[in-house]
């Protein structure tokens, strides 16, 4: 597969390390009353979609960017690649 890195252009998938569902960005607030439940869901209940999925890929043999790759797991078609940092910020994650 070829992943179109937003900063570096087309790169072979062999340069990346795969993590999984991009929902891992949305780490719960540990101070919430139901933090334990939220962390349980965050840690263990992730989607494994047959179809279009947003995934985290890490450019380990490259610039060390974490990317959010929107990929169809049935066809391997990649429709979107974003910097995970931008996605995290857009999701309201701050510091």
């Amino acid at each position: 597969m070829i992943i179109h890195h937003p900063l570096l252009g087309p790169r072979d998938a062999a340069e990346f390390v795969y993590l999984g569902d991009a929902s891992l960005i949305n780490r719960p607030d540990a101070s919430a009353d139901d933090a334990a439940e939220q962390f349980y869901e965050y840690q263990y209940l992730r989607d494994n979609v047959a179809g279009e999925m947003r995934e985290l890929w890490y450019h380990e043999q490259g610039d060390r960017s974490w990317l959010v790759v929107t990929r169809n797991t049935l066809t391997h078609e990649i429709s979107k690649v974003e910097l995970a940092r931008d996605v995290a910020r857009a999701n309201g994650r701050d510091r």
Binding site: M1, I2, D12, V17, L19, L24, I25, R27, P28, A30, S31, A35, A36, F39, Y40, Y42, Q43, L56, Y58, E60, R64, S65, W66, T75, H76, E77, I78, L83, A84, R85, V87, A88, R89, R93, D94, R95
Partner: protein, 982 residues
């Protein structure tokens, strides 16, 4: 023996003669021959024995689709089994042997299997060797494996080398036959970057096998002219002997280039190169493969595909027989008859299954329309055929054509399915093709030469337009639109003898029927149950025939029946090519520590830890056992001073205004409060609350920390921290960089450590206990101005420091430290002594941080700060990970001091049986402690912290033996930590 079947020159160089051996018999051939054309030239028809029934078999095809003529090529370690004789280029001194027979090829003792054939049909193994169960492994399987099978391996390491390469192209053209050459002309003239790959050593495809004209010159001449035009174009790369074997995601194609297979010796060159081709577009011009017809005894040597017979005559000047009969269901088969007659070969009969007027007149041949071949005679080679009209005809070669199958493989490698074309009686590419792929020529069902040429031109033009490249205007080469009429005909039902479908796997029409009866009706089931289409040829000549007969039997259409999934590789790719240079010690990189050269000169014994090569111990004269060296290193370090290269630990430089806050979140304990110039031990959890890693982190400045990780987790921890930084807290002001390879770091441990260091650390940095106490750190200069860092930390439990210098000084630093330590008899120590000392001190390491244990388990539960959030904090509080019976890391000593402990032993209470129910924990690390003069261990046991002094059993049933052990503090040495603060 002379080449009595060589009737012309074809395209071989008859001026030059080369020698080769088949089954140790010497023969001759010419440059341009394949092993099969040379064997046929010498009148060799019997070349092997079949897979299951050990039937005599001959050469069946003239290309990579060959099911029968598989040989062991070359000798010794170079021997390669299952090489297709049809694609093996002849070279001087070539040695080949036939496969799969016991005794001589002409009389195979295993031929008895053929007589047993009524019992050996599809599903035979499944049904017969079911019971008694114990017989399977001991009797049935070995016997079956010995009697069925293909060639044998040399059993020696492959002495050849293989390479890998990467190529980029605008347009990849697969196949340099008429359509591929035409497409390459257009793409090349248009300036696109073109790769034109062909599996043959002579590009041109079927043009060399036929006698057709292109632009009024011979096909061969047109190919030569076209190639010479293409070779002048810098933007065209012509790759011969290169098979594009797979179409992968996003325009990535796999190709195997044979570099030296046609030479007697590879002579240091890579034998083959595995290419990864990145192509914006691909035009598949892979041609078509002929298929056979199922009739009685249609597997005898001398029965061949009609197009192959024609190829041997036209390209190689060899006739496969002196009296040839043709059996066809299409007009193309007739061309074999006419080409043979034109070359002066006798054609005894042409049998056509169609009841139509004969398309050609063939002089001297009896023409039988609307008939078929029902049986053949001749055990080691055909001599007579019997027709459906009871006529018998003499023939030493029977050329069969059941029609042509477009080579749709690459179009289906991404799960595409071909479509059945009723009028052409073949599958053509259909549905969704891989992105960027188009198909031209015979591969797309354009079976006539003129159609192939024009489809090559047209699809190249369309492809270029899709790339916004203006297609050059290239005249479509002129050729005859020869007739390709065909009428589907699969199986001669009048035949009472076995009718073969898959020659390589000995699958007959009866097997298809049995498969259907036994309920294996889907094509994928049919394939697995009968083995139809498996092995080296992947059913290139047999699949469509098999599934057409299945369809017929099931009363379904061929489209409904469908094909099995096509998967790469198109033709076999050696494992060596996939491995490339990644073999043996080159399988992965070797990382050497900065003081490697010093250690090597000192005679160190090295050990692989991950990619690292580390000194394990440093033997000195007179030491004959590793324990002597290790005990000495430990004792001398504890008594005076020892030095160890610890550069392999991961080092991560953390900088930024929020660096402290960031470390607070990735470490379970607090770091933001760490004073500048201090080091703190930290533990890191995974988000699920399990321990991930531990190490020390030093604060060199307000906004500057240097973290260490364990050697094994250096990469993973860094990846995790980047995840935290980019994905979880994107606005923290913090930057990370791995500095593992930038710093050489040495542990200097032992009561004389300070005295030694005072000799190398420049005087402007006082390192006395008051100025530089336990857990201090700082930037220093060494040996008169070399920059360095000093950390007062201890893994051994002794007064100890770690001193770091830029990596390029590492080897000299080791030397300088040892020289400065001469007056203290300083010793270098390796990973074994390091391990012994950390066990004596009770420090957890990889064996304890094994991905199953918590901070509480290793006795550091209180380090998980509850004043802040950190990775894993919340889930580490889960009930199931905090029970009364939790494991605790403690020490163990044998009650009998002369007994050795073993890691991996499980603990049970005295009096309990050693079984899973009674399991209370396990031993993680053991060592012989020279300080305590006995074996000691660390391990996890339930409620360990409350059981000091208890005696339990360490059971090791796997290696035999149970040991009584006493539960003790894990801190065997200096439990109060006085030494390291001294």
């Amino acid at each position: 023996m002379s080449q009595t079947y060589r009737i012309g020159r074809g395209l071989v160089d008859t001026n030059s003669t080369i020698k080769f051996a088949f089954n140790d018999q010497q023969y001759t051939g010419h440059p341009g021959d394949t092993l099969s054309s040379a064997l046929l030239a010498n009148g060799i028809r019997l070349v092997g024995r079949s897979f299951k029934y050990h039937r005599p078999r001959g050469i069946f095809s003239a290309g990579s689709e060959e099911p029968n003529a598989l040989v062991e090529l070359r000798r010794g370690a170079y021997q390669e089994p299952n090489t297709r004789a049809t694609v093996a280029e002849l070279f001087d001194g070539l040695q080949a042997r036939s496969q799969n027979h016991r005794g001589p090829l002409g009389f195979d003792f295993m031929g008895v299997n053929d007589l047993l054939s009524p019992f050996l049909s599809a599903g035979f193994y499944y049904k017969t060797f079911m019971w008694p169960k114990a017989f399977w492994e001991k009797l049935y399987e070995p016997v079956i494996r010995a009697s069925a099978g293909l060639g044998s391996l040399s059993g020696k390491p492959d002495p050849d080398s293989y390479d890998k390469g990467f190529l980029h192209a605008d347009v990849l053209i697969v196949g340099a036959g008429p359509s591929g050459l035409a497409a390459a002309l257009v793409a090349g003239e248009s300036g696109a970057r073109v790769i034109l790959a062909d599996e043959d050593f002579r590009p041109g495809g079927r043009l060399h096998a036929e006698t057709m004209l292109v632009d009024d010159i011979s096909g061969e001449q047109w190919v030569a002219n076209t190639l010479s035009r293409l070779r002048k174009m810098d933007n065209v790369r012509l790759m011969i002997r290169t098979t594009v074997y797979g179409a992968f995601d996003h325009g990535i194609y796999g190709a195997l280039e044979k570099k030296t297979d046609h030479l007697a010796s590879s002579d240091g060159m890579p034998r083959q190169v595995l290419w990864r081709i990145y192509a914006k577009r691909c035009i598949v011009c892979a041609g078509a493969t002929e298929r056979s017809i199922a009739f009685g005894n249609n597997d005898r040597p001398g029965i061949m595909l009609a197009g192959a017979v024609r190829a041997y005559v036209n390209r190689w000047g060899v006739t496969p027989g002196k009296r040839v009969a043709v059996f066809t269901n299409n007009d193309d088969g007739w061309r074999t008859a006419s080409d043979l007659v034109n070359q002066g070969v006798e054609v005894s009969a042409v049998i056509d299954s169609r009841d139509i007027d004969a398309p050609l007149s063939i002089s001297g041949a009896s023409v039988v329309m609307g008939a078929s071949v029902v049986d053949t005679m001749g055990r080691a080679g055909i001599h007579t055929i019997k027709l459906s009209n009871r006529q018998t005809i003499k023939a030493d070669c029977l050329a069969v054509s059941g029609g042509w199958n477009p080579n749709v493989h690459l179009t289906c490698h991404q799960r595409g399915r071909p479509e059945w074309n009723e009028s052409q009686a073949c599958f053509v590419p259909g549905g969704v093709l891989p992105d960027g792929m188009s198909v031209a020529g015979a591969a797309n069902g354009a079976l006539s030469l003129s159609a192939a040429l024009s489809s090559g031109i047209d699809s190249a033009s369309l492809t270029l337009q899709s790339l916004s490249i203006k297609p050059a205007s290239v005249d479509t080469p002129r050729a005859d639109d020869e007739s390709t009429r065909v009428s589907a005909f699969w199986h001669v039902k009048e035949s009472t003898k076995r009718c073969w479908i898959d020659l390589q796997n000995d699958v007959t029409t009866k097997d298809i029927v049995v498969s259907h009866q036994d309920g294996f009706r889907a094509v994928e089931h049919l394939k697995r149950y009968t083995t139809l289409g498996m092995a080296t040829d992947q059913g290139k000549t047999s699949n469509v025939l098999g599934l057409a007969i299945m369809a017929e039997h099931a009363g379904k259409s061929i489209q409904e029946t469908g094909t099995t999934i096509f998967r790469p590789p198109y033709t076999p790719v050696p494992m060596g090519a996939f491995a490339g240079r990644s073999r043996g010690k080159d399988f992965r990189p070797t990382r050497k520590t900065p003081s490697h050269a010093w250690a090597e000169a000192r005679g160190a014994v090295f050990v692989e830890t991950g990619n690292w090569l580390r000194a394990q111990w440093f033997p000195i004269d007179g030491e004959t056992h590793w324990r002597e060296s290790v005990d000495r290193e430990v004792t001398q370090t504890r008594n005076s001073v020892g030095i160890c290269d610890v550069s392999t630990l991961g080092k991560i430089d953390v900088q930024g205004k929020d660096a402290g806050e960031f470390l607070n979140r990735v470490y379970a304990n607090t770091f933001a409060t760490l004073a500048v110039g201090k080091v703190r031990y930290g533990i890191m959890l995974r988000e699920d609350g399990i321990l991930m890693d531990d190490g020390t982190t030093a604060r060199l400045g307000e906004n500057h920390f240097v973290m260490t990780t364990t050697t094994a987790n250096a990469v993973g921890v860094f990846r995790h921290m980047e995840f935290c930084r980019q994905c979880l807290w994107p606005n923290l002001d913090v930057q990370l960089i791995s500095a593992t390879e930038q710093w050489a770091q040495f542990a200097v441990a032992g009561p004389n450590a300070r005295k030694l260091l005072q000799k190398v650390v420049d005087a402007d940095t006082p390192i006395d206990n008051e100025s530089f106490p336990f857990m201090a750190c700082g930037e220093i200069s060494i040996c008169g101005g070399t920059p360095g860092r000093l950390f007062r930390i201890s893994f051994s439990g002794e007064l100890a420091y770690e001193i770091a210098v830029p990596t390029r000084y590492g080897n000299s630093m080791m030397d300088a430290l040892i020289k400065a330590g001469e007056e203290f008899q300083a010793v270098p120590y390796g990973t074994e002594a390091l391990g012994v000392m950390r066990i004596e001190k009770g420090h957890a390491a990889g064996n304890e941080l094994n991905g199953q244990t918590t901070a509480a388990n290793i006795g550091l539960g209180r380090m998980v700060s509850k004043k802040k959030d950190s990775i894993g904090n919340t889930l580490s509080e889960r009930e199931g990970m905090n029970t009364e019976n939790d494991l605790a890391l403690v020490g163990f000593m044998p009650t009998n001091k002369s007994v050795s402990l073993s890691a991996g032993a499980h603990f049970v209470s005295k009096g309990n049986e050693a079984n899973t129910e009674n399991d209370e924990g396990w031993m993680t690390s053991v060592a012989y402690s020279p300080s305590l003069e006995c074996s000691i261990g660390l391990g996890f046991i339930q409620r360990g912290q409350d059981r000091m002094g208890d005696i339990v059993i360490a059971a090791d049933p796997l290696r035999g033996g149970t040991t009584e052990v006493e539960i003790v503090s894990p801190h065997f040495i200096d439990p109060e930590g006085e030494r390291l603060r001294g």
